[in-house]
Amino acid sequence: MKTTSLTDYIIERLPEIWQRIGEHIFLTGISTLTAVFVGIPLGILAFYRPGLRGPLLGIVSILQTIPSLAMLVILLALFQKIGVIPAIVALILYALLPIVRNTLAALQGIAPEIIEAARGIGMTEWQKMRLIRIPLGIPVIMAGIRTASVAGVGIATLAAFIGAGGLGEFINRGLALSNTRLIFLGAIPAALLALLVDFVLGFIEKVCDPKRNRHWSHRFRFALKLSIVLIPLFLLIPVFISFSPWSSQTAGSSEKNETKGINVVRIASKNFTEQLILAEMMAQMIEKRTHLSVDRKFNLGGTIICHEALKRGEIDLYAEYTGTGLMAILKLPAMNNPDEVYHRVSEEYLNRFNLVWLEPFGFNNTYTLTVRKQDAVQNQWKIISDLIPMSSKLVAGFSGEFQERPDGYPGFQEIYGFKFGEVHDLDPGLIYQALAKGAVDVIDGYLTDGRIPAYNLISLKDDKKFFPPYYAAPVVREEVLSAYPDLREALAPLGSLIDNTTMRALNYEVNGNRRGISELVTEFLQDKEVL
């Protein structure tokens, strides 16, 4: 597709941009507001109970140091849910430190003579707090709220990682597709939003400061204070109402779909191009060939997130790879025969999780080590074992998943008996670019990745047959299959439709030629006459 002009590009996506901004404000707003209602009392508690002060501040400080993604994943495990709830909880936890700390500092910072006077004229503890400490401490407390909100806008971009929406959606998708424009589409509004929040709260901070603006008439001051409380509520209520279908979808279950009277199938994908293409294919087939409607929950963080969501019935199907199912999910030892793997996986999934593997799409997207073509030619690398002599000088860039999985780098070292000199943890979306630009020398490429030809890279042959077969196939909840029997039928034509070359080409269309996925998929399916 020809590159559209930037303005067209933005105008086209304007409705979604607004939606994502709305979600973003909702996520940040509701979590900061909650953190205010929790954090200020905690700050007051810490003020009155010096014994609690250390532990309390310690805990909120530690919470702050947990890396955001780790926090999201921990909460995901804790809540057993993808979507808005764990994202909001994570944001609340991050917002606590500045609010608690500033509240405590504000209360402690009041001049002792003023407190003595308040006590001396006969104020109770509560009256001192309400009439003296809080009003005088407001500017410091507000500064804490402001810090928390601005940071919250930034952290909320990560919420998309667990399917909670927001401007991070664009960033995630941009990373998955290595599409810089998409990344900016999320990053720039998020930055502007942060500036706006900073400005608005800065203004409110000034209004609340008892040392300023105090000659505004009482009625005006009262109206202003009232509006400071009410405006966010009024802003949040419609946002909340309009997004509640969105939030209930995320948290919803299949029963909910039926009570709504529409039959919805929720399709998920992991966060890379091929997954998005496969998910879109399944979605279009179901939309065209059944009366079901599709809820696209694409771009979830990774295998575990998709699998857990599927098990819990938060999504109905996604495309999984046999090798991943075998080793990462079932934790079974590696096997080499593709059919054996498929049957083993199907059987175990059905028994353990009530999940059904449908017919594979046909291609094998196994891991492979990938290098620059130019290096391969120069050093005569053809198979993985060719790397051994130079391995200690080579810098590897591996995705986090590859570094951890038994069928990834750990197992690899055992079978091949060597390590790389340095290993960097890279986002799967950036890995090919990093290799092409020379930042690393070896990556864990996928055999079908369109970026391999696009960036002039080459995959090395797995001479020790370490990597198990990774045939992709739809994995569906059995419950859903029996509730909607035509689902299996609708997806059947996708079976064995796509070989390695085709998949690589489709991936390249998206990553190399920047084609839109839904349009590309429609064209492909029509071409194959299955739609």
Binding site: I114, A117, G120, I121, G122, I132, K211
Partner: protein, 251 residues
């Protein structure tokens, strides 16, 4: 009547800031607590108000032991002008003065009448000053407001801790004169702390001279001047005798 009965106070458990002090404040008088800086004058006022508790001894207010009273109610029934003023910087003059009546739950219109009355009493204008904030008044005006706040709920007793301490001599003079007028009209029992001998003899019905936590002498200015009980008192007043003679000849 306020009575201190063998009161001692120690902050650190070793040295006594106040040592075995007994003292009576008579109905309707101004008793001056006179002593050098750090001798425990503020500590005495704070103990009467229960901002701090004595280590030993008892304090009686109208015959009742203040330790048996609710401290909040006690404090609201005593007017207190704090050393260093202690106005609330975020509240207007009107709000500062109305605070105690507000805490006592007075109806709104009564509070409104009261603060105007008080502002006029301390020679400030309700129209000009009521809606200003403490830092928008001069030091002398702030002192007046502090006095007005202490008088707000019309207490029988007034504790005044160096109310004119931080003022220049001219302002202090005129405030002292106003204060004497005020006292005539109000008929309160007042404990007035100062380390200024001239202020003590100008304002006091009686003077209690404190030194190192002990009461050196208590009596009317004349009694003390004519019969200093200790060397300390004698030396203290020696410098002021000339002034005192002049003062007496005028009155």
């Amino acid at each position: 009547m306020i009575a201190l009965d063998q009161v001692s106070k120690s902050y650190d458990g070793v040295s006594r800031i106040i040592n075995n002090l007994s003292l009576e404040v008579l109905e309707g008088e101004i008793l001056i607590l006179l002593g050098s800086s750090g001798c425990g004058k503020s500590t005495i006022l704070k103990m009467i108000n229960r901002l701090i508790d004595p280590t030993e001894g008892r304090i009686y207010l109208d015959g009742k032991d203040i330790q048996q009273q609710d401290p909040i109610e006690l404090r609201r029934s005593l007017g207190y002008v704090f050393q260093g003023i202690g106005l609330f910087p975020h509240l207007s003059i009107r709000e500062n003065i109305s605070m105690v009546p507000h805490l006592l739950g007075w109806p709104e219109d009564r509070i409104n009448n009261r603060y105007r009355e008080l502002l006029e009493l301390v020679q400030l204008s309700p129209e000009i000053h009521a809606d200003r904030f403490p830092d928008e008044l001069s030091g002398g005006q702030q002192q007046r407001v502090a006095v007005a706040r202490a008088l707000a709920a019309d207490p029988d007793y007034l504790l005044m801790d160096e109310p004119f301490g931080a003022l220049d001599a001219i302002t202090r003079d005129s405030l002292q004169q106003e204060f004497l007028d005020l006292k005539q009209r109000l008929n309160k029992t007042i404990i007035f702390v100062t380390h200024d001998i001239i202020e003590a003899v100008t304002l006091g019905d009686r003077i209690a001279i404190l030194h190192e936590g002990r009461l050196e002498q208590i009596g009317t200015p004349e009694e003390i001047l004519e019969n200093p009980a200790t060397d300390f008192v004698r030396e203290l007043f020696a410098k002021s005798v000339k002034f005192w003679k002049g003062f007496k000849s005028i009155s």
